[in-house]
Symmetry: C2
Subunit: 225 residues, 2 copies
């Protein structure tokens, strides 16, 4: 499949690399490809310069948000939550129309210090905000409940774990579930419509405390039933 991954942070890089490894035709979208590729410093999360990552992944083209979305059949939102609406606007409503949008972003608000709070919750969600803003896009919220490496390589945990899909379009959820299976996810629970993204986005506060208590992000939940 032709897939555009919007965002060049840890999540974007990890998902783009995994999709490319699985044989998809992958592009990464960024605000200004020249600037992104010119970066030669380690970023604030400790990632290698994007240019080094790009050199190591020659099959993944780096394009503007709009060009990446235009050429794709499926788009992945791997931006930080605060930037999501603006990035998708830059990608262009006309370039996204009719396509499946996998939304991995979380509405994290770092303005009150650590751990972050949520800038939307409980009676609304970021997933719903994106779906309302782009009614012709088929938004599927998923993978926002675990660490980037485990999103792409779930089998690195000692036991199978669970991920979720939320979205209004059943066909879109089927496509996304199939992609998740190809990543190695064996337990994908369909929570229902996009409003169920409130549930997975509100998991983040517990995830953050667990990371603190366990001293690692290498964990995920399994729903035992």
């Amino acid at each position: 499949m032709r897939i555009a991954v919007l965002g060049t942070g840890t999540v974007g890089r990890t998902i783009a690399a995994r999709l490319s490894e699985l044989g998809h035709e992958v592009t990464v979208g960024t605000r200004d490809p020249q600037t992104t590729l010119a970066r030669s410093e380690v970023d604030q999360m400790g990632n290698q310069p994007f240019s080094a990552w790009a050199s190591a992944h020659p099959d993944v083209a780096v394009l503007s948000f709009a060009d990446a979305a235009l050429g794709a059949e499926l788009v992945v939102n791997a931006t930080n939550g605060a930037a999501a609406l603006e990035v998708l606007s830059q990608a262009g409503e006309e370039n996204l129309a009719g396509k499946v949008l996998i939304d991995i972003s979380n509405p994290l608000d770092f303005s009150h210090g650590m751990p972050p709070t949520l800038f939307v919750k409980d009676t609304d969600s970021l997933g719903e905000q994106l779906q309302r803003r782009f009614p012709n896009v088929r938004v599927v919220k998923t993978l926002n409940t675990l660490n980037a490496n485990l999103m792409a390589h779930p089998a690195s945990l000692p036991e199978p774990t669970t991920v979720f899909v939320s979205g209004d379009n059943p066909d879109a959820k089927t496509i996304v579930t199939s992609l998740l299976h190809s990543f190695g996810h064996t337990d994908v629970i369909d929570l229902g419509g996009i409003e169920t993204a409130r549930g997975t986005e509100m998991w983040l506060p517990l995830w953050l405390r667990l990371m603190g208590a366990l001293g690692t992000a290498a964990f995920n939940l399994r729903i035992v039933r």
Copy 2:
């Protein structure tokens, strides 16, 4: 141990019965024992009349909130979240002082329909509200993340699952963790101070969607790491 369980709903009954079965000296606290024992109808949750439950559990005395708290070494808040502060006030600050309070309640707000929202979240929690209101009580938030039957009988699930403790007093958490082990919980994660109750209380929105998607409340999460 002498334990008072405040609340006569599903959670209160289930926890009181389990503690009694394990050999503890258990009382149940209610607003007005005469009225509670006189009830002869099935309640709004479909539970048998409390009088029938009390007859089946003759070792569990039914007392006022204050009398139950007064005679106990450890108190369990099994009320609904909206009533928690008022019930504990009725139990009496002087009767609770210095004691461990297990807080199982969740801040569910049913005023907007189903599923419920949360009346406190993200920058505060019900656990913290109780601890602030009763600074001499050693509040431990736990068991608010799963169905009442599974709180008391976790081994009825096919695999071990995880529960959490949040609280400012390490000795209180040790006492509570020991009780949880006696119930059959094998994986108890100490999340940290009482402010980490924000995490477990915000798990409820996902729990509620999972109950909808799975068609059962007989599930729990396991933290795989």
